[in-house]
């Protein structure tokens, strides 16, 4: 749970869309909601690398790994395991 909370916080703080009513579920695709620009993408990858001390290799940079809170969580778990 704590992992998800951290990811969620990061997305909420950094996404370019912001609307009090724009809530997103853990399985909502944040890219399709138009949350993401180049800056956000880089920040997200850098955040994951620093916060969880993992290396995101080029092969890991697949949309699916980062498209939802759930997928990001699974990706991090697969890396630290």
């Amino acid at each position: 749970m704590e992992l998800k909370g951290k990811i969620r916080n990061f997305i909420e703080e950094n996404m370019t869309i912001y609307d009090d009513e724009a809530v997103f579920a853990d399985d909502d695709n944040i890219f399709e909601l138009g949350f993401v620009d180049s800056m956000f993408a880089l920040k997200l990858v850098t955040f994951i690398e620093r916060e969880f001390a993992i290396q995101v290799a080029n092969d890991d940079l697949v949309l699916d790994n980062f498209s939802t809170v759930d997928n990001i969580t699974n990706f991090i778990n697969s890396k630290v395991a």
């Binding site: 869309i17 800056m39 880089l42 940079l61 949309l63």
Partner: protein, 358 residues
Amino acid sequence: MGGNKKLKEIKCVVWDLDNTLWDGVLLESEKVTLKPAVIEIIKTLDSRGILHSIASKNNHEDAMRKIEEYGLAEYFLYPEINWNAKSSSLANIKENLNIGMDTILFIDDQAFEREEVSSVHEDITVWDAVNYQELLTHSRLNPKYITQDSQRRRSMYLEDLQRKVEEKSYEGPKEEFLATLEMKFIISEAQEEDLQRAEELTVRTNQLNATGRTFSYDELNTFRQSDRYKLLVCELTDKYGSYGKIGLALYEIFDDHWHLHLLLMSCRVMSRGVGTVVMTHLLQEAKTANVRFFADFVPTDRNRMMYITYKFANFKEVDTREDGSILMENDLSVIQPFPKYIDIKIISAEKDERIKVS
């Protein structure tokens, strides 16, 4: 470590003050005198689109008052006048201007300061103040073209400062702030008058640059007139003014696919959330034209952000060539929408028929 890499054009000259910009030491006496011709040098470089800043160990207020007396205050962006190590002052200037250390020239009369800066920033260029008169003639301070964008560069940075101040004081959510800027993103086919700026962009842009390929004016002009290529330029404006021509895309047209050779965005607009706008446009057009979409990517130590942009735009690696360049394809199944806070204008023009005749 790329030892034979060509030295980049200088984008900013960072001046020491005492015995560099002026003769004398301000702390010891108010009666310092500007070095001969220094005002002319600063103004001339400024008109070439080269920025100026200051790294000086002095009392900030006293030094700025002196600079204002000389009528030079508006020429220096993000001056660092304090008692910190100059290497950290230069790091701040680099950060604020968002340019590479390898495009900064630091000029100081003291060998100690020059060495301290070089020891921390190995890519920076340092000059002894005795050589300041050569600033005007040195090849790295003589850009090949002086475009409208380069002449306006300093005022564009000043407009940016104003935006930053307003952004900081804005209490609401970020998207709302971006919406208050009334941004317009204009994509058009390159005209002849765009080519100098287009060439300049290929030379100056490092971070948001997919292939790092540079093209000469003549090459770009050939692409522009050819039916096999499309050369697009992007301009961004907002309520404070124009950011100028800040993006470029070049793709080749085949019967069943398009091939993107070049895509770049100026670092100046990075924080404006416009990095993916032109990509969205290209993918939408390809989908409408019902063609496959390929793109080249050449990884460098500076352009990881662009790599991530491509991968997050759903490009997949198809092939890695021997020279390290990567061929990618986008299956056009997922296309990010345009950001809501930007007004997108697409101007398509017929290629100039007159030129083809000659």
